[in-house]
């Protein structure tokens, strides 16, 4: 998704790097929504997403001096947010499994009325699969970047994405043609 633009970004960032609380709050106001949206789409609960939002901006406030302007400020903040979200998933790992869980998926013969909507289907994916789908297909991360953030291989990321799309296709009632 596109983040909100930050008017006079260079000046705001320069002041934020000096610890100016007004500039730090301007960064929060510009990017809180996309950070929250990314966190909420990856994690299961609003509580987790709110914690990640807070942790992300706490980290941004502490580390803005290290931001060298190599990429966009949103790219930097987003990498902090996705790293915090993935860390949260690891912490909540007891809820996840390495295999996609389709125990609760509608059967192949389910009627159209029982089809899941896209949000429900995304929520049904494992945490890891949902994170890969969101980071790759929506946020535009490459498999190399996702693998790096997750501490996994590129083929793991690709495999998670493909298997997740097979499940989504089934749960959304878009089965492959006979």
């Amino acid at each position: 998704m596109n983040a909100m633009s930050l008017p006079d970004a260079d000046a705001v960032i320069a002041r934020a790097r000096l610890g100016d609380p007004v500039a730090l709050e301007a960064l929060y106001r510009a990017y809180a929504v996309p950070v929250y949206n990314l966190s909420r789409r990856i994690c299961r609960t609003t509580e987790d997403a709110e914690d990640i939002l807070q942790e992300t901006f706490f980290e941004v406030c502490r580390s803005i001096r290290n931001y060298r302007g190599d990429g966009s400020i949103w790219g930097w903040i987003r990498s902090v947010a996705s790293s915090k979200a993935l860390m949260r998933l690891r912490r909540n790992k007891y809820r996840d499994t390495d295999e996609l869980n389709d125990d609760f998926a509608p059967s192949r013969s389910a009627s159209p009325g029982l089809r899941m909507d896209l949000e429900s289907a995304m929520a049904r994916l494992t945490d890891t699969a949902r994170a890969v789908v969101w980071l790759h297909d929506v946020e535009g991360y490459t498999h190399e970047e996702i693998a790096g953030q997750m501490g996994k291989t590129v083929s793991f990321s690709k495999s998670q994405l493909a298997r997740a799309h097979v499940r989504l296709r089934s749960w959304l009632g878009e089965e492959a043609l006979a």
Binding site: F57, S159, L177
Partner: protein
């Protein structure tokens, strides 16, 4: 190729991923297979629908909580550097007192109590460091309590530093009282951190 394309191959076509093995053959199959063309079209549509999901907005403003955590961290940094100076002075004092114990055994009770309080205080400091409280999420109310406790400890540390600087003989009753107060406040600080952590399930 007679089999239809796998999801991996469809994704490779969608993303232009040339590292996928057999991509050229997959492209040849795709160009003549209406079923795979429909599948890829559905994949594009699904991705577009994902990108069009509503933007979720946080219920509240988290920035005040971020500011409180920053303030707590700043105070902790300040407080720890002051505490380190006090503890270093205390350690020097203890060494002096131990040396004198041999000559003046009657001072032992007061000095023993002082050493016990200093040791307990150091243990609680270490426990907080081990707990890594800076990296934990705390709510706003807890942050306020933490700030108040740390302010009181910083005030005590300033008084202890003054005592340690000017004292040349055995510890005074006032000094012992201050150290015991410090142990009490440190205990409270540890309790606040642990209670907060247990309430958020850490």
């Amino acid at each position: 190729m007679t089999a239809h394309l796998s999801m991996e191959q469809l994704l490779a076509l969608r993303d232009g991923d040339r590292s996928e093995p057999g991509l050229a053959e997959a492209q040849r199959h795709f160009s003549g297979c209406s079923r795979c063309q429909i599948e890829l079209d559905r994949l594009h549509q699904r991705t577009a629908r994902l990108r069009a999901l509503p933007i979720l907005v946080p219920a509240g403003n988290e920035f005040p909580a971020v500011q409180q955590r920053m303030a707590v961290e700043r105070r902790q940094r300040h407080w720890r550097s002051a505490a380190t100076a006090v503890l270093a002075a205390a350690a020097a004092l203890v060494l002096t007192v131990i040396g004198r114990d041999i000559v003046h055994p009657t001072r032992l009770d007061a000095e023993q109590q002082l050493r016990t309080a200093m040791s307990k205080s150091a243990q609680l400091e270490q426990r907080l460091r081990d707990w890594n409280s800076d990296q934990r999420v705390i709510d706003g109310q807890t942050a306020i309590v933490v700030i108040q406790l740390e302010d009181k400890i910083a005030d005590l540390d300033a008084r202890l530093q003054a005592q340690a600087t000017h004292r040349r003989s055995a510890p005074t009753a006032e000094e012992l009282k201050l150290w015991q107060q410090r142990v009490g406040l440190m205990n409270a600080l540890v309790d606040v951190h642990l209670t907060n952590a247990s309430s958020v399930g850490l």
